[in-house]
């Protein structure tokens, strides 16, 4: 890459005619070269433009969210948005306190992490420290399938398989509840948690493991007391990424967790997450200028902000982790 770029630079010099050859060949070369150079410049420009599309996407997201959010806050005070404890923009008596939605989002995400973190971390340690090469080659792709299943399928599974079991175990469970969404989401996120953590564990230099073994440590002691602490920042990045994924997940909660924004910590109750609210409004035919239309952008802005912060933290944590061992 660096090499590739530098080596091409001298080529334009040829065009200036420094190479003294038979003039006919010289002119041919020059003409040929001009054409090639033009093609090269066009492609460079075009691909640069394509690369800029990603910047445009980010800018577009921020612009669209901000535009409607500003309109929203012309009608609703920021103070009400962040402190009111009721969220009823679709009712006659409208209240715009986003806290119940945030509460629902965090409740489901926390439940999902209760499933994904221990299982994912154990799976990562097993894959990186215990499994043979063959075992890893079989187990990893199977786990990855979990991440490839569409979320609408998890929603089906949560509502029609997990919820009935929960209702048998805890009769007070509501049909739509946070717990079943959490469990399904936890298994969906498990491969992400496992594979990012495993990358971190595998990045710990072999010399460190050897140092521990050379002192008479067992495999368990080496894995949990040397390798895991050394990979901790990488594991932390995996955790943050997983939380961010859980917060932004939509279909599972839209199907299984309900549409009742409320401030509760009881996972057996029906709640509503930020994402599920956006789906709820999108399903109805909401007029463009209405306040309900604006609420989904305001909620979306908050959601985007939350995940953005987490992605940035995870990005820098990962970067520092990589620097440590390179």
């Amino acid at each position: 890459m660096g090499m590739g770029r530098n080596q091409t630079r001298p080529i334009p010099c040829v065009k200036e005619g420094k190479l003294q050859m038979a003039t006919t060949i010289q002119s041919l070369t020059t003409q040929n070269h001009r054409k090639r150079d033009r093609e090269r410049k066009i492609i460079r420009g075009l691909t640069f433009f394509f690369a800029l599309v990603s910047v445009g996407t980010t800018a577009g997201i921020i612009y669209e969210l901000l535009k409607e959010t500003v309109l929203f806050f012309q009608e609703v005070s920021i103070l009400e948005f962040f402190t009111d404890t009721r969220w009823t923009p679709l009712f006659a008596s409208k209240r715009f306190g986003v806290l119940p939605l945030v509460n629902g989002t965090l409740l489901v995400a926390a439940g999902a992490m209760l499933v994904a973190v221990p299982l994912g971390l154990l799976a990562a340690i097993f894959l990186s420290e215990y499994a043979s090469e063959r075992m890893r080659k079989i187990l990893k792709p199977i786990l990855e399938i979990l991440a490839g299943i569409p979320t609408v399928v998890y929603g089906y599974f949560a509502l029609l398989f997990i919820t009935p079991i929960l209702r048998d175990l805890f009769p007070e469970t509501q049909i739509f509840n946070a717990a079943s969404a959490s469990i399904a989401m936890g298994f969906m996120i498990l491969p992400l948690m496992a594979s990012v953590s495993e990358d971190a564990l595998s990045a710990v230099p072999r010399s460190l493991r050897e140092a521990a073994y050379a002192m008479g440590a067992t495999k368990f002691e080496t894995a949990t007391q040397v390798v895991l602490p050394a990979a901790l920042s990488g594991v932390a990045a995996a955790f943050i990424l997983a939380v961010s994924r859980a917060i932004g997940e939509t279909m599972i909660v839209a199907i299984a967790a309900g549409q009742q924004p409320k401030l509760t910590l009881n996972p057996l109750q029906s709640i509503e997450t930020m994402t599920a609210y956006i789906v709820q409004v999108s399903l109805g035919d909401t007029p463009h200028q209405s306040i309900a239309y604006k609420t989904i952008f305001a909620v979306g802005m908050l959601l985007f902000g939350m995940t953005l912060i987490m992605n940035i933290i995870s990005y820098f944590v990962t970067k520092r982790f990589r620097e440590k061992y390179e």
Binding site: S132, E133, P205, S207, L208, R209, E210, A211, A212, Y213, A214, M215, G216, A217, T218, E221, Q225, V226, P229, A230, K324
Partner: protein, 262 residues
């Protein structure tokens, strides 16, 4: 050869990686409280031989060995013997310093803890200090024991690794080119330290640096690639270092030492 107490002895040792015979038919001894150097051209199996002594080779999945390695007369490759136990008694210092990303104190205390040290905090402090003094590092780090081991210079890190190894009181310390990643001054310090350490420990050192072998070791084992297509390493000559460097018996040893080889 004099009748010192033999701590380690290999008998017809062969080590394979898969089907590849890395070292073959190695026979030599390591004497108590002496420094034994293993020298030879690169790729001749010096590190493989060294790593056989504490069964670190087993961490490579395809590795397998034949023959015996006796430690105080008992075969460490006996199926009843646990490699963890072996490594506790035969410590190791690696080519590149590899302190744990923990505090200087924890780097040393950890080995004691996992090996079942049950003493009080002050006893632990004493042992940590002892180990750091033993590695000639105490004066440089005594005021910053809670700093990361990674904050030290390369030479200090390597001495920390030596301190870590001696803290659990092994009988033998294996050193795999311990100074190759260090500058000349740090190297000198490590070499001085080795001479001190041999009062209490038996040291086996792999080095590609013949001057270093001549400076620090009492005995030298010369390794060379031999066999079909010269692919398997073996010890071609083993003797007192003074003999190896002045009156080698093997022509190949002489060529190598005088620089006519490789």
């Amino acid at each position: 050869m004099d009748n010192n107490h033999v701590v380690l002895e290999t008998k017809n040792l062969n080590v394979f990686y898969g089907n590849f015979l890395a070292i073959k038919d190695v026979n030599f001894q390591v004497f108590r409280n002496q420094i034994t150097a293993i020298i030879g051209p690169s790729g001749c199996g010096k590190s493989t031989l060294l790593r056989s002594f504490n069964r670190m080779n087993e961490l490579v999945p395809s590795a397998r060995s034949e023959g015996k390695i006796l430690f105080n007369g008992e075969d460490i490759y006996d199926p009843a013997i646990d490699p963890v136990e072996v490594r506790r008694k035969i410590g190791m210092v690696f080519q590149k310093p590899n302190p744990f990303p923990k505090s200087i104190y924890e780097n040393i205390a950890w080995g004691l803890k996992i090996n079942g040290f049950r003493g009080s905090k002050s006893e632990m402090d004493d042992l940590v200090e002892q180990a750091l003094r033993g590695a000639a590092l105490w004066d440089e780090v005594k005021d910053k024991l809670d700093q990361s081991g990674l904050s030290l210079s390369g030479g200090q890190q390597q001495r920390l690794c030596i301190a870590r190894a001696i803290a659990i009181k092994p009988e033998v310390i294996l050193m795999d080119e311990p100074a190759s990643a260090l500058d000349p001054i740090a190297t000198l310090k490590i070499e001085d330290l080795m001479r001190e350490l041999k009062e209490n420990y038996t040291i086996v050192i792999v080095t590609h640096n013949m001057q270093e072998a001549a400076r620090v070791s009492d005995y030298t084992a010369m390794m060379m690639l031999t066999g079909e297509g010269e692919r398997s390493g073996t010890v071609i000559e083993f003797d007192r270092t003074s003999v190896i460097f002045t009156r080698p018996k093997d022509k190949r040893t002489e060529d190598y030492i005088t620089g006519r080889f490789g």
